[in-house]
């Protein structure tokens, strides 16, 4: 498997002494969707801006498809496309014209240009409004237009900085559906920053959690969740009549880690709640133990996040998100 992004001991210090990145090591395979998850100010954007050749690292090296972003910036820029966090289209011309101008900047040959632009617009569901001024677009449409810009050149890797910030759930869904199908169709690597857990959970193949300029955890969403210690099945019993034999039987089930009984509550900690549930139900039925209620508690990415990045998302994240969303609205 080809390596799309390779980062070695990357440090970025903003003057006078903000250590935005504090020794990042990271390797991303090509063709996957990779989420960099972290609270605001964790260094997500700084890392992305170094990878897209906008900033120079203070020390350390970063490679995109084997090209050094510092020394071979020109070559890197031919492989990537980038959607910044802020709005990045001209609002006083139409959507089609935006794509036309970017098409020219990217050097797409004139005989292919119209077809490519029309395809990008159709992919993003913007054909209807292609000739309206961008000022009249909604936030979701602007985002889709920006992504249309980014897919014009069929990049090898797309860098998306907070791609769905300020979007409503349906707009978010549309954006991700198109990105996912684009990834499948062209094998594009999607590298995105986010502080939305659900987004990282649903749409990424691998997640790195970044906090205070360091990668604190790396893995797929499932791996990360499992690393917390599994899932809990909770039975409310109709009486207080569970016996040792039953408990022993349950303990011997394959994925079960622990069984805890307190009064009429039977809690089973399992690595795979769904299969354990079936097996445990069968045992309880044979032993004729009446049940009132069953619930499964799975750990979420929020729990993972809270464990590895602390609770900072709640405090700093919200506020800056609010101001940012407001900025987007004010700019139209």
């Amino acid at each position: 498997m080809e390596i799309a992004v390779d980062v070695k001991n990357l440090v970025k210090i903003y003057k006078p002494k903000t250590r935005a990145l504090d020794g990042i090591d990271l390797s991303v395979e090509s063709g996957i969707a990779f989420a960099l998850l972290g609270p605001n100010g964790a260094g997500k954007t700084t890392l992305m801006r170094i990878l897209t050749t906008q900033l120079r690292p203070t020390t350390g090296d970063a490679y995109v498809f084997g090209l050094n972003v510092n020394r071979e910036g020109g070559k890197v820029r031919r492989l990537i496309s980038y959607v910044p966090q802020e709005m990045s289209v001209w609002t006083d011309i139409s959507g089609y014209e935006n794509l036309l101008i970017y098409g020219k900047i990217f050097g797409i040959p004139s005989h292919e240009r119209k077809q490519i632009i029309d395809d990008a617009l159709a992919n993003m569901g913007l054909s209807q409004v292609a000739n309206s001024l961008v000022k009249t677009y909604s936030g979701g449409m602007v985002r889709r237009l920006e992504i249309a810009c980014a897919i014009l050149i069929k990049p090898k890797i797309m860098f998306l900085d907070e791609p769905t910030i300020g979007l409503d759930p349906s707009a978010k869904k549309i954006v991700w559906e198109t990105l996912t199908s684009f990834k499948k169709e062209y094998g594009v690597t999607v590298f995105f920053n986010t502080h939305y857990m659900d987004e990282a959970d649903l749409y990424s193949d691998r997640i790195a959690i970044i906090d205070r300029g360091k990668i604190v955890k790396l893995g797929s969403a499932d791996e990360l969740k499992r690393s917390l210690g599994g899932e809990t099945i909770s039975f409310s019993l109709a009486g207080n009549n569970i016996n040792e034999t039953t408990l022993r039987k349950i303990r011997t089930l394959t994925s079960v880690r622990d069984v805890i009984v307190s009064n009429t509550e039977l809690n089973i900690l399992s690595e795979n709640a769904e299969t354990t549930l079936l097996e445990a139900m069968e045992i309880l039925r044979i032993e004729k133990i009446p049940l009132e209620k069953i619930s499964i508690m799975k750990s979420t990415l929020d729990d993972v996040f809270l464990k590895y990045a602390g609770s900072r998302l709640e405090t700093t994240g919200r506020m800056s998100e609010v101001t940012h969303t407001r900025d987007m609205i004010r700019r139209g």
Partner: protein, 244 residues
């Protein structure tokens, strides 16, 4: 980039109309009033005629100096970041943006000229001269827009930029031959004027549109070319700074 500017203008020309108000006032009010007192020796051409190229250039230069505001806006949004991540070189981006501003300047000029005609300004009736004058305005505007981009890469907020813009434009305008011949200036201003690109532009355009005296034209062109090249290089070099 030039196409971007043309498309923008097609959608919204309000700025140009409002920006044309000032030069029109100079031509319609200042010129005739000052002309009647004959305080300024302009040879045998009427004063309004004398200042028409000057205020024309002043207005286009104004437009270009404030072009940096667009750049500051694009910095606040993500457009500049995205542009810098495209394969296009910084030089191409800066020169393209600067020349795009030249396009605006030409349209500005096209609004002012008819007003001057109505005021009885006598232009040299030679279309080739006219076209050449506008080519000069276009090229020089690029240079001034590059100053603006250079300034924008240091002044990253609108407020600071506005202040600096004013501080650049007024000395350029007053210490040039736009409103009065350089010969009547104090020595120190004469020296300054020799380094003032605006003077060369005004001189060239005045020669082509009003006096027909083209003796200085090669020097003017050389000065404008040097000015453009220096500014393009400086602006390109500092352009990356703007997003950091």
């Amino acid at each position: 980039m030039i196409e971007l500017e043309l498309r923008r203008l097609r959608h919204d020309r309000t700025e140009l109309y409002f920006r044309a108000v000032q030069p029109i006032l100079w031509i319609v009010i200042f010129g005739p009033v000052m002309g009647t007192i004959k305080a300024i020796p302009t040879g045998n051409i009427p004063y309004t005629d004398f200042i028409t190229p000057g205020v024309l250039i002043q207005s286009t230069t104004f437009l270009c100096i404030f072009y940096g505001l667009t750049i500051v806006w694009e910095r606040d949004s993500g457009i500049l970041k995205k542009l810098l991540v495209t394969p296009a070189s910084r030089y191409a981006t800066v020169i393209g943006r600067s020349m795009a501003s030249g396009i605006r300047a030409i349209f500005q000029g096209l609004i002012v000229i008819p007003v001057a005609l109505i005021m009885g300004v006598k232009f040299i009736p030679n279309p080739a001269y006219f076209i050449f004058a506008f080519v000069i305005i276009f090229l020089a505007s690029g240079g001034f827009a590059a100053i603006s981009i250079l300034a924008a890469s240091f002044m990253k907020t609108r407020e600071r930029f506005m202040g600096l813009g004013q501080a650049i434009i007024m000395p350029l305008f007053f210490a040039s031959n736009a409103l009065y011949p350089v010969q009547i200036m104090p020595q120190i201003l004469k020296d300054f004027s020799a380094f003032n690109p605006l003077s060369y532009v005004v001189d060239a355009v005045r020669g082509l549109l009003i006096t027909g005296d083209l003796t200085n034209l090669p020097i003017d062109l050389a000065a404008i070319a040097i000015f453009d090249v220096i500014l393009f290089i400086l602006a390109s070099v500092s352009f990356r700074r703007i997003i950091e």
